[in-house]
């Protein structure tokens, strides 16, 4: 211990001695330069030697006063190293590892959250695009439906008109047929009546005419004469 301190003091006094030597060197004249420096150095060395002895005494006094001794010093060094080692090995290191692990987990979590945020934004963007596309599609479908419905209405209207016309035509035809039939029935009825009337007239006339022997007229001509005028 003393040796260390003496070495330290020597090392400290060396640059001071050199500085003093430099100052002496600057002060001396050119002729007596070498001689002066040698004398100065000699004096400085002697002074330094005395100083070292004084410092050594002071150092001994300090170490004795503060109770510095090599065995105690080594014991305290060993104590510190042991405590530092045990603390680091069994407390600091596991906690530092836990801290790092937690830090890693937080970093991972934040990164995951960031990724999720990006994915959410992406999904939101996709959804917006899809909604937009759906709106466009819906608009197109609506337009198409409107056009189709318009066409359908037109076609149905036309169809209905055609059907109505057909129905009217059929109705006219049926009416015509009915009329024809009715006319036919009327003719038949008239003919029957004519025949009946004629037969009655004729039967009465015959009884009258037999006596007169006059010829009976042809029914065909009667019918033609009896054609009604509507």
């Amino acid at each position: 211990m003393k040796a260390i301190f003496i070495t330290l003091l020597l090392a400290l006094s060396l640059p001071l001695g050199l500085v003093a030597a430099d100052e002496a060197h600057a002060a001396s004249s050119v002729e007596g330069k070498l001689h002066g420096v040698a004398e100065q150095l000699h004096a400085d060395l002697a002074h330094a030697g005395e100083s070292i002895h004084e410092e050594e005494d002071k150092l001994t006094m300090i170490t004795e006063k503060f109770g510095v001794s090599l065995p105690t010093l080594i014991a305290q060094m060993v104590n510190f190293v042991l405590v530092a080692f045990v603390l680091y090995k069994f407390a600091v290191k596991p906690i530092a590892a836990t801290l790092d692990e937690r830090q890693q987990k937080i970093a991972d979590g934040l990164q995951y959250a960031e990724e999720m945020k990006t994915q959410l934004a992406e999904a939101e963007r996709e959804r917006a695009e899809k909604v937009k596309q759906a709106a466009i599609d819906a608009q197109a479908i609506l337009t198409e439906a409107r056009e189709q419905s318009k066409e359908m209405i037109e076609s149905k209207t036309q169809e209905a008109a055609a059907q109505a016309e057909a129905m009217i035509r059929k109705a006219s035809e049926a009416t015509e047929l009915e009329r024809q039939k009715m006319l036919s029935d009327v003719r038949q009825e008239v003919a029957r009546l004519v025949v009946a009337t004629s037969s009655k007239v004729l039967s009465r006339d015959l009884s009258d005419a037999r006596s007169k022997l006059s010829p009976i007229p042809q029914p065909k001509n009667w019918l033609m004469l009896a054609k009604p005028h509507f």
Binding site: V68, L73, A96
Partner: protein
């Protein structure tokens, strides 16, 4: 219990008065010898407080969990705070090597600084030749302890610096010409070489004295604190010393931090250069 309390008060009062009269001894007392080696009161305190520290930390930490308990949270915040404080100083390269030393220094110094505040430390003892030889003395009020830590710190500084920075950079950092060769004229550059060599020598002396400054600073503060508390307790044993106890709590933290930060800065001065240049 009724008899014990007055006995404790009487003993502590007597001890305080005796201590105050003598003042705190600058050197530790040798209590006995163990295997031929001296067993001083500071070594006893170091052992007891260190064991308490280790057991306390282990109990509070237990098995570290991701969701910490109260004890773990305290130690975690301490470790995390020191890590955040020391890593930028030491540099990322040297930090894994330096951190065990630095946190060991901080915890050890802090707890042993505070150990002087524990009732009984520096109080209980036996009267020998008219003065009290107390059995427990805070570790850092013994120059052996502070010098021992400082020497270990400087040894670690040397090892870490040589390992991280390399011997070439280590020598260049101390004695090398720091002038820019491209921008400095050659004669000036050559003239600067001996100047930087001299600066290097002064730097070596400064480095050699670092353990002395580190150890005496810590020792002086803790020893001074012990004297202050002893004097105040001697003058007025109750209530009056309380503010000084709080003051010593603060001094304990500050001195532990200063010691640790200075060692970190010494390491960082050698190892943190590349990263600075990289920035």
């Amino acid at each position: 219990m009724n008899k014990l309390l007055p006995t404790v008060f009487l003993l502590s009062g007597t001890a305080s008065v005796l201590n105050a009269a003598d003042g705190v001894s600058p050197s530790p007392y040798e209590l006995t010898e163990l295997f031929g080696l001296p067993l001083t009161n500071t070594i006893v305190t170091t052992w007891v407080i260190s064991i308490l520290l280790i057991v306390g930390v282990r109990l509070s930490v237990g098995t570290p969990k991701l969701i910490p308990g109260k004890g773990q949270a305290v130690i975690e915040s301490l470790i995390d705070g020191l890590r955040g404080l020391l890593e930028p100083i030491v540099g990322k390269k040297a930090f894994p090597m330096a951190f065990p030393l630095l946190i060991g220094l901080f915890l050890f110094i802090l707890i042993h600084n505070w150990s002087g505040l524990i009732p009984g430390v520096g109080v209980f003892g036996h009267v020998e030749h008219g003065h009290l030889t107390y059995w427990m003395r805070p570790a850092n009020s013994d120059l052996n302890a502070t010098l021992g830590m400082a020497l270990i710190a400087m040894l670690a500084w040397l090892v870490i610096s040589l390992k991280i920075a390399g011997p070439k950079f280590f020598i260049w950092e101390l004695f090398g010409n720091k002038a820019d060769k491209k921008e400095t004229p050659k004669p000036v550059y050559l003239m600067l070489i001996p100047i930087f060599m001299m600066v290097g020598l002064i730097e070596v002396v400064s480095i050699a004295f670092r353990p002395v400054s580190l150890s005496f600073r810590l020792f002086g503060n803790v020893f001074g604190g012990e004297n202050l508390l002893t004097s105040m307790t001697g003058m007025a044993p109750y209530i009056v010393p309380i503010p000084f106890y709080f003051y010593e709590v603060l001094v304990g933290v500050v001195q532990a931090l200063i010691f640790t930060l200075l060692v970190a800065i010494y390491i960082g001065l050698m190892t943190n250069h590349d990263e600075e240049h990289a920035h």
